[in-house]
Amino acid sequence: MLCQEKLNMAKTISLINMKGGVGKSTLTVNLAWHFAGYTNWSKKILVVDLDPQFNASQYLLGATKYANIIKDGKLTIWNIFEQHTRTPTGKTKFEPKEAIIPVVIMRNGGKIDLIPSCLELALSLQNPYEKEDLLRRTLTKLENEYDMILIDCAPTESLLTTAAYLSSEFILVPVKPEYLSTIGLPLLVSSMLDFHDKYEEHHLELSGIVFNAVTYYSPEEERAKEEVKELAKQNEWYVFSNEINYSRSYPKGAREGQPIFRTSYARTEMAEQFKDFAQEFAKRIGL
């Protein structure tokens, strides 16, 4: 029976929205850098890339390192979901720590590790039978190693979504304030309700909705925000008071494998704005 075994040490948060392109991976990586890099935090962070599009892996590793990982046959998130699959040579022993790639170790004691993803993860979805709890079981074995585990989710309802919910204490929902993006929210509500029906013992808390890539430009954006706030009010969800503005420094940082506070061209106010959101987020999850 699947029961809740809360991760004692690490706060585990899934970043999820049923709409793609809302900035989940960028937000995941920048939060990881923030809590690992700033001296007042110096946290040990594990990023779990749970998206077959592997954007978080691309951001954190770069092409050459990623290619070497694949070439060297190192483990990825795929191995977590396929650890019990029998092959003609039998079952291989799965050791969770072998799936972890160190990304950065800070002088302040903070660090970022990654469980990378790969395209083949999509194949795991074709045979989802009894795989949904494998991620949680794996992360439970790593709970003492980290202060925070950030799971970057895929934008579709699948085995991977259930696996993320089961592994998490909190979810964080980035929403781009535009019409199609906001429709991802009711889809997420539906997904969470289905999950609660099936796993009613599991406590999963929505830490909040954060408006991402805000431009403060069009009336359409304001309308989208109002609609989301209204939906949040109806469902008693928290909406972060700090929003994340659109900045060209985010995609540039992704290309260079750097967070916004490390990019030389980022306007200070943009980096500060992210810092304010991160503070509010930390408070919400009790970090």
């Binding site: 691309q58 092409a63 050459t64 070439k71």
Partner: protein, 180 residues
């Protein structure tokens, strides 16, 4: 050990033992036991004294070639290490030359953040040339396998193709052998 100045120097060194740890001091003692290396260090120290004296007199025009000469002197000290310890010297030269010709970490900021991210000695130097010397000095006493892993990391990080669409296309289309 009756000479007061030598005793004073020894006391100063003893104070530094605590800061840098016995392993670093022992490695330095091995380096200093090489006569050529000692000569190179003395020359470098003397040049630094000359440079400082010149900066006091605000003679900025003549400082530039001196810095360049200083870089050459530093490189020659790495060549001296290579003659004595081929593996270490070759790796250090590869690192130094890669930084000099901007193959690795082309900006001082990148050098600084790389040092931070990999728990190396923090880069405080303002100019790139001084920063390179400071960066490479951190590797003088590092175990060879660690130097190799840092070099590998640098090659991965600063690969020209690292963030290009072409590189990712190769991976996604299963042509990983094409990636450097």
């Amino acid at each position: 050990m009756n000479k007061p100045k030598e005793l004073q120097l020894l006391t100063e060194i003893a104070k530094l033992l605590e800061k840098y740890g016995p392993d670093s001091c022992e490695a330095l003692a091995i380096l200093l036991s090489n006569e050529e290396m000692t000569q190179t260090i003395i020359v470098t120290l003397l040049q630094n004294i000359v440079l400082k004296a010149k900066s006091v007199s605000h003679n900025n025009v003549e400082q530039k070639p001196q810095v360049s000469k200083n870089a050459k002197t530093f490189r020659s000290s790495l060549v001296a290490i290579q003659e004595r310890d081929s593996d270490r010297g070759t790796l250090l030269l590869q690192l130094f030359d890669g930084l000099q010709n901007k193959q690795f970490l082309p900006t001082s900021r990148e050098m600084k953040t790389f040092a931070e991210d990999n728990s190396l000695v923090p880069i405080t130097a303002k100019s790139r040339k001084s920063a390179i010397n400071q960066f490479v000095k951190a590797f003088l006493t590092m175990p060879i396998h660690e130097i190799k892993s840092i070099l590998k990391l640098l090659e991965e990080k600063t690969s020209i193709e690292n963030s290009s669409l072409e590189a990712w296309s190769s991976i996604i289309l299963n042509k990983t052998a094409d990636i450097k």
